[in-house]
């Protein structure tokens, strides 16, 4: 009984310790949600696969601080985004604007779909044309012979 009680308490303690650890992806709770909403639209320059809201890199922390200060100064979201674009270029935005080189990012999927549709249309058109050609090539004699063969089971019974 003592052993069972000890194991149970040990397991409970480990579980408590595990749950007490904060998730490594949890952003530090030091700014308002609006700061993280704007930072979520910006890329972290160091950890480029993460947003400035998620990253714990020093630059991202400072970016969040800058966003908080500019919000306190009454600047709008668009102004804050322009602040970072001015220093890092369009690359810093997770949704690049539709202009210049980034225009292709928006257009290439549409082009791809267009090419796919065109390819399918051409393939189906070719198949249909080939079917019509084959049908018109069959002579009257062959049609009669085929009809005769189709009727042959009736003669047997």
């Amino acid at each position: 009984m003592r052993r069972a009680s000890t194991w149970w308490l040990g397991g409970l303690l480990l579980l408590a310790l595990a749950l007490a650890q904060p998730s490594p992806n949890t952003p530090p709770p030091d700014f308002s949600p609006e700061v993280f909403k704007i930072a979520g639209q910006l890329r972290c320059p160091v950890c480029q696969g993460e947003s400035a809201a998620e990253s714990n890199a020093g630059i991202a922390v400072e970016m969040r601080r800058i966003i908080a200060e500019q919000l306190a100064q009454g600047k709008s979201e668009a102004e804050i985004r322009a602040f970072f674009v001015q220093r890092y270029g369009d690359w810093i935005l997770y949704e690049p604007p539709v202009r210049g080189l980034t225009l292709w990012v928006w257009l290439s999927p549409l082009l791809g779909l267009g090419l796919l549709g065109f390819g399918l249309w051409r393939y189906l058109a070719r198949v249909r044309a080939r079917a019509l050609t084959t049908a018109s090539d069959v002579s009257e004699e062959e049609i009669a012979r085929l009809e005769t063969e189709l009727q042959s089971p009736e003669r047997q019974p």
Partner: protein
């Protein structure tokens, strides 16, 4: 469709070759190139105040080319780069200002760093990395090449080799 397979091979081969010729996608161009360098003034680290004053930075009308080097004591490539910068500072100190910006660091660690490598070119302290963000930096080390008119000529991300550093020096002295 497979009837014209040589054409497909040539097309894919050409695409592959074009892909190889493209520049490194990780090398992001700085939007500051060709624009005036952002002005700033920051406190110098203690050992440099006797020689350079309390603060230092980039101002308009400096009349001297600047190599702005963003570094941190916790940065491993910065330790390889520091002796190189010091050697070039000794050689070109009259013509080019090599100015270090210590970012996101503690002042004690920064002092230990410059003492360890015997750095005599000035470094300012940017504890929160604000000036680094003004320049749009991605990490440390990073070097901005600024001509005597105050225009940013180039941004070098990562560690500098001697050939690269010499190339930048010759570029600003031209």
């Amino acid at each position: 469709m497979l009837r014209f397979w040589p054409v497909w091979v040539l097309l894919l081969g050409g695409l592959f070759y074009w892909g190889l010729q493209r520049p490194n996608k990780d090398e992001l161009q700085s939007v500051l190139v060709g624009k005036p360098a952002p002005s700033f003034s920051l406190p110098l680290l203690a050992p440099y105040r006797a020689q350079y004053g309390a603060e230092m930075g980039i101002q308009e009308g400096l009349g001297k080319p600047v190599l702005l080097n963003i570094w941190a004591s916790w940065c491993i490539p910065c330790r390889t780069e520091a002796p190189l910068l010091e050697r070039f500072h000794q050689q070109y100190k009259d013509q080019v200002l090599i100015l270090g910006v210590n970012v996101q660091d503690s002042e004690a660690e920064a002092l230990k760093f410059i003492q360890q490598y015997g750095l005599t070119f000035p470094s300012v302290y940017d504890g929160r990395g604000r000036i680094g963000i003004e320049y749009g930096y991605y990490g440390v080390p990073e070097t901005f090449v600024i001509d005597r008119k105050g225009t940013v000529l180039a941004r070098h991300a990562g560690e500098l080799s001697e050939a690269q550093l010499r190339g930048y020096i010759e570029q600003v002295l031209r």
